[in-house]
Subunit: 303 residues, 2 copies
């Protein structure tokens, strides 16, 4: 099969996903970014301006515009009425902050009661705080966050991350009728991370940030942490949310830390832990791993 | 015992309360208002300017400034540096809106994990949205709310009430570290009231407001409703949160309404229902109902 013939083909697209879908973990962003990237590769499309593909992906799912790039990516709102400058830009490549690790605590893979696009539109229509946040808070935070990433300043990065997550969920609550993505398990995770950050081995109460939580449009937590703390964090997860396998050896929390956290364990509250780190953008896999069978048809049709 | 002699007395104060304390139901407001009012009565104090007692009560617990009056009361922020004009003013007396009834759904009488004064101060220090709300949202809402009360416009009153409650809790979430007062039962109550308001017997989806929820610094719901809907609302409470006694005969929800609400019942989630209506301010009880025993000592000491 030659590429120039493909341009005449009608397409049968097979999409597979190893990530929880519709759980507020940007599965639609990964899917639309992958689709746009793959079609562009298939047809040999070159961008006519930087970010053209990002802008196309954005129309499938807003955050898909970011998923076309690896590493640390920002989505610029843009100012043009046609949205053509509302695109994503890479802030730093994936290898820029090698100590950074990510733990995704999957609280529930139940479908969200409301899709995030609907909720977001209702928020724009009804939340005064969403408007005030967009106009008066986000631009300065974006600049601080970019600086924190480029200078690998974890304290600033962590505080901005947690405050931005809290504020996003605040605007969901300010939507009418309100939208709730965080549930009681999410709040327990926030409590554990907050107390862990407030706990110092020297006994002082000064905050030393070792982990940052963030929640997208769902109850699942994404925890950012420097590698040196991942064992301790998994130890806390093991202690407070027992019943899920951990990737790295967990370091059991000290009695003093357990006392400082002061919360009862909640067994079975988590479904799964995904341990990852900042990675690359879309990748073309080896044809031997392809979803296309030897007869040129998708394997899913060939059975 | 004559009053002029009392002025020389050292006081032994006995305070009793039939309301859940430290549960976000303004128990401290009622207590401080009662204390200030009673001391003023005891010593025969006349206000030197309108609101003087309100201003004194405010120093015990902010919202106590309102509890000195009956009916519908607003707390004016004031502009003076010494706070002397930060006082409460009655908007309308308790008999102004006779159809209005109030159901307090007591979700839990566990103590709050954080006192509301601490949380409020942390909010002022760390929440951008709290500042923006105070400056840019609340003044216009206060004016709309006052107008809705005076014109007995339940649709406006209910929408402003629910949006203001949501926005208050949004600013708690925007506090760093975040403060959560609503729990999963609170969210279920919000869901039931939202769907009940969206449900029309004629099958249309246009919102018709029959009830308004509001939550103070705790998980307990305060539901405002015109009397004609109280039976239906108690029927919903009975259906979705079975296990508590209801004051009025509940009207069981129709199958169509249950289907529209689409939620599993949560038995045992409520502890108690308090059914009340806008009432008067502090009252002097008949001496025969007094807490003071025949020997002139508090009954609690006389045993």
């Amino acid at each position: 099969v030659k590429k120039d013939e493909w341009e005449q083909y009608k397409l049968h697209i097979v999409s597979e996903n190893n990530f929880p879908t519709a759980a507020g973990l940007a599965s639609s962003a990964s899917g639309f970014a992958c689709l746009v990237y793959t079609l562009a590769q298939l047809y040999g499309i070159k961008e006519q301006y930087p970010g053209e593909l990002s802008q196309i992906a954005r129309q499938g799912s807003g955050s898909a515009c970011r998923s076309l790039y690896g590493g640390w990516v920002k989505w610029e709102a843009g100012v043009k009425a046609d949205g053509s400058d509302s695109i994503a830009v890479q802030v730093a490549p994936e290898e820029a902050w090698p100590e950074m690790e990510i733990l995704i605590l999957v609280v529930s893979s139940h479908r969200k009661p409301i899709g995030s696009t609907d909720a977001m539109q209702r928020g724009v229509q009804t939340s005064d705080l969403l408007r005030l946040r967009a106009e008066q808070v986000v631009p300065a935070r974006m600049a601080r966050m970019e600086k924190a990433i480029l200078s690998k300043d974890f304290d600033s990065f962590a505080r901005e991350t947690m405050q931005d997550s809290n504020q996003f969920h605040a605007t969901c609550l300010d939507t009418y009728p309100p939208v709730f993505y965080l549930n009681d398990v999410s709040k327990q995770i926030i409590h554990v991370i907050t107390r862990y950050n407030q706990f110092n081995n020297d006994g002082s109460a000064a905050e030393h940030l070792k982990a940052a939580y963030t929640f997208d449009a769902g109850p699942n937590a994404v925890i950012y942490a420097p590698r040196q703390y991942v064992g301790e964090i998994l130890g806390l997860v093991n202690h407070y949310f027992p019943g899920v396998a951990t990737s790295t050896t967990p370091v059991a929390p000290s009695e003093a830390l357990v006392k400082a956290i002061g919360m009862e364990p909640n067994a079975g509250a988590l479904e799964r832990i995904i341990h990852t780190r900042p990675g690359p953008g879309p990748q073309i896999l080896d044809a031997s791993e392809s979803l296309i069978g030897e007869n040129g048809l998708p394997k899913s049709l060939a059975q």
